[in-house]
């Protein structure tokens, strides 16, 4: 657990971090976000004593960091700095190996760890191990920076805009990967970002900072639905309803879906259609292949004739999707109800637009304090 207690940092008579208190529970990811220059980096660097606070105390697992030798403290905390700062005279592998070497790991263990980490950040060990930093793109360098911070498997990670320089597609991939690791390893993480979507996607709790002060510290859902003041309200933006949908998983809202097998007789289909306006059609392995509209049924003689075939990419969502993805598919396909499948295309259920309307209505459209 990391606990910052009334931390203040004064530079040239100006408090760049002011009376800042924050608690991050063990195994939680806290995302620090706020305008440029609001003191995020300064706050982060006080935790591993790269900067000493003017006043206030910082505890890690109830130990005052002031009582831990800075070098030892830092070796137990993974730190990815904002400027990346790879060592230009060392290969990628040697860069990653720095902390394990400081901790005197065995050679073989280090080598394995390097390969493991490179794969984790999506770079092939064979290709990248022996490269020098000048041979890397900005995004690749940043990923090596993250790998380097993770190298010694520290229980605490401080990450200063770790994905700032990678393209959106890779960024999403890295975020997913990072979340997966987090699910397994439960590290205590403080991550700085400028990207609100990233914050909403990754954070257990978001800390919004302004001018060195903590404005709101809460779960992404609450930040979006109950912004504390006008600053947060503006910060999360007018699309906060949409952003909130991106945090909400569909699993709770899936209804069972009426479906027929493509080999069924017309009678059975008619029967199934009695209660609803349409039914989904699956193949013999219960994979979704299309739907049948009740109105058409009377004019046709076989399922094949009545079937409206579908492409899964265009109208179906998978189990892990968020309500935002559901909405997006509804808008592009023009359907109010869309099917939910698993990764292989088996029909699981359906989801209706009314859910989205209900959820959106829950978010209060004003902020708590003016």
């Amino acid at each position: 657990m990391i606990s910052l207690n009334k931390i203040t940092k004064v530079y040239n008579d100006k408090a760049v971090v002011n009376n800042f208190s924050l608690e991050v529970d063990r195994g939680e990811m806290c995302v620090l976000i706020g305008p440029s220059g609001c003191g995020k980096t300064t706050t982060l660097r006080m935790i591993n004593r790269m900067i000493e606070p003017t006043s206030g105390e910082i505890f890690i697992d109830s130990r005052d960091v002031k009582k831990i030798k800075p070098d030892l403290l830092r070796r137990s905390i993974g730190y990815a700095i904002q400027m990346v700062g790879l060592f230009p005279h060392m290969t990628v592998a040697a860069n990653i190996a720095v902390v394990p070497q400081l901790l005197r790991w065995e050679k073989k263990k280090i080598k394995n760890r390097i390969d493991e980490l490179l794969i984790l950040v999506g770079l092939s060990p064979a290709e990248y191990s022996s490269k020098y930093p000048y041979q890397l793109s900005g995004g690749e360098a940043q990923r090596i920076g993250v790998a380097r911070a993770l190298a010694a498997n520290p229980p605490i990670l401080l990450m200063d805009e770790p994905f700032g320089a990678v393209d959106p597609l890779t960024r999403t991939k890295l975020q997913t990967q990072f979340l997966n690791i987090q699910k397994e390893l439960h590290k205590t993480i403080i991550l700085i970002t400028h990207d609100l979507d990233e914050a909403i996607r990754m954070a257990d709790r978001i800390a919004i900072m302004k001018d060195g002060e903590l404005v709101q510290y809460d779960t992404p859902e609450n930040i979006l639905s109950r912004p504390y003041n006008q600053f947060v309200y503006k910060f999360v933006g007018t699309d906060r309803a949409l952003k909130r949908l991106s945090r909400i998983n569909i699993s709770k809202f899936i209804k069972s879906a009426p479906s027929v097998d493509e080999d069924f007789s017309m009678d059975k289909v008619n029967q199934a259609c009695e209660k609803c306006r349409w039914v989904w059609v699956t193949d013999s392995k219960h994979r979704l292949i299309g739907w049948i509209d009740r109105k058409i049924l009377s004019q046709t003689t076989s399922i094949k004739e009545a079937l409206v075939p579908v492409s899964l990419d265009e109208i179906a969502v998978t189990e892990g999707a968020s309500l935002k993805e559901v909405l997006s598919i509804m808008l592009s396909s023009g359907l109010r109800t869309i099917p939910v499948t698993d990764k292989k295309g088996f029909l699981i259920g359906e989801i209706d637009m009314s859910i989205i309307e209900r959820i959106s209505a829950e978010s209060i459209n004003h902020y708590e304090k003016s």
Binding site: D71, L72, M83, G85, L102, P133
Partner: protein, 396 residues
């Protein structure tokens, strides 16, 4: 291909023109002994018309290459052609030297004349220009640099130049030459060694402490603006006084003249390039790199040894290279205050108006300087590879 490389190389062209002109003035001066005026001989008379025309033809090829050369191969051929011209020059010298044998008596000698020196100069201008174009081609550059000196040494050791005035002079002064040559090398080595250590320490101090920075640079800059002769002179007085006060100092060789003031002056001259380069080598390290090192838990010493030392090494070595090449030349002046070294021949020669003796001091100094420069460049190239590329990358 970039357009710039199509443009004619002005420096090389001037070298070629000078080279052609240098075929005309007198090439060799035949003297019966050291101090006589001697008799000037032109190249065609000495080496024959055919060979003279051949060299003229080589100069013309150099001219064409410097005018139109646009790739590394052509630049390399230009440099090698200039080498071939130098080899011919040495052949001519050995021919003149061998011819003399039969005609005159023992202490007779061949002194090089204006044409000879001009041709040497022109060839080195062309070689310099060609090497500049070759940039990173270290191997071919070294071949171009060292071919001519190697051939010269070959002729020297096969006794083909035994009547060359400098060799005659050497034969006369053999014992003394070896002594002063070794002394010169020791003076340079000792002063560069201590100058580098002190310089590196001062450079680190200047980087670490803002308070120390200005005084350090003030001292090194001042020392560099005092002409070398003056500094050597300045040290005579205080060291004499001190040594008279504390006689034991005289016993270990510290006197107003001699090795002590020479070494002190040489060390001081060594400082500036080393201090400057150490300072900027450290100052140019990306702050984020040091920050990352600290952030990962490196101790101050580890940051210094694992980050600052390797990253500043190329620049520091560059400073030591400048110091040592400069030191080889500067040590010549040390002879003036009785410290000996190759400068001894230069000043003796000047005093006796004996140009051959001056050359006996000068030529080894030039070879020593070139050699030091070459070796240091190789070392630097070896250590600088990765970091240099990093800089190129940043520039793009």
């Amino acid at each position: 291909m970039n357009l710039k490389s199509f443009s004619p190389d002005k420096i090389a062209i001037s070298g070629c023109v000078l080279g052609l002109i240098s075929l005309f003035p007198g090439w060799f001066i035949l003297k019966p002994h050291r101090l006589s005026a001697g008799m000037s001989v032109n190249l065609p008379d000495s080496a024959g018309l055919a060979l003279t025309i051949l060299v003229g033809f080589l100069w013309m090829s150099c001219f064409v290459l410097s005018f139109a050369g646009k790739n590394d191969l052509q630049h390399a051929i230009l440099g090698i052609t200039a080498d071939v011209i130098l080899i011919f020059v040495f052949i001519f010298l050995s021919m003149a030297s061998n011819n003399l044998d039969v005609k005159t008596h023992v202490s007779a000698r061949v002194s090089p004349g204006a044409g000879f020196w001009l041709t040497m100069l022109s060839a080195y201008i062309v070689i310099f220009a060609a090497e500049k174009k070759l940039e990173d081609r270290l191997i071919i550059k070294n071949i171009i640099t060292w071919t001519a000196p190697a051939v010269f040494l070959f002729f020297l050791f096969t006794r083909n130049l035994r009547n060359f005035s400098v060799v005659v002079e050497f034969a006369v002064q053999r014992q003394r030459f070896i002594q002063e040559f070794l002394h010169h090398i020791i003076l340079v080595a000792v002063s560069v060694f201590f100058g580098s250590i002190i310089g590196i320490l001062l450079g680190i101090l200047a980087k670490r402490s803002k308070k120390a920075r200005n005084p350090v640079f003030f001292i090194t800059d001042i020392s560099q603006t005092i002409p070398s002769l003056a500094l050597f002179g300045l040290l005579i007085a205080p060291l004499s006084v001190i040594s008279f006060k504390y006689p034991f100092l005289r016993e270990i060789g510290i006197r107003g003249i001699g090795n002590a003031p020479a070494l002190i002056a040489l060390i001081i001259y060594c400082l500036l390039p080393v201090v400057r380069n150490t300072y900027s080598g450290l100052a140019h390290i990306d702050k984020s790199v040091i920050d990352a090192g600290k952030g990962m838990g490196m101790s101050k010493m580890q940051v210094f040894l694992k980050i600052e030392v390797p990253l500043s090494a190329p620049l520091v070595l560059e400073g030591i290279r400048i110091s040592s090449v400069q030191g080889v030349g500067l040590t010549a002046v040390a002879a003036l205050i009785g410290a000996g070294g190759l400068g001894w021949f230069i000043f003796q020669g000047l005093g006796q108006a004996a140009p051959d003796m001056i050359l006996l001091g000068t030529i080894p100094i030039i070879i020593l300087a070139l050699f030091t420069d070459g070796v240091m460049r190789m070392i630097i190239k070896f250590t600088a590879n990765k970091v240099k590329k990093q800089k190129d990358h940043n520039r793009l």
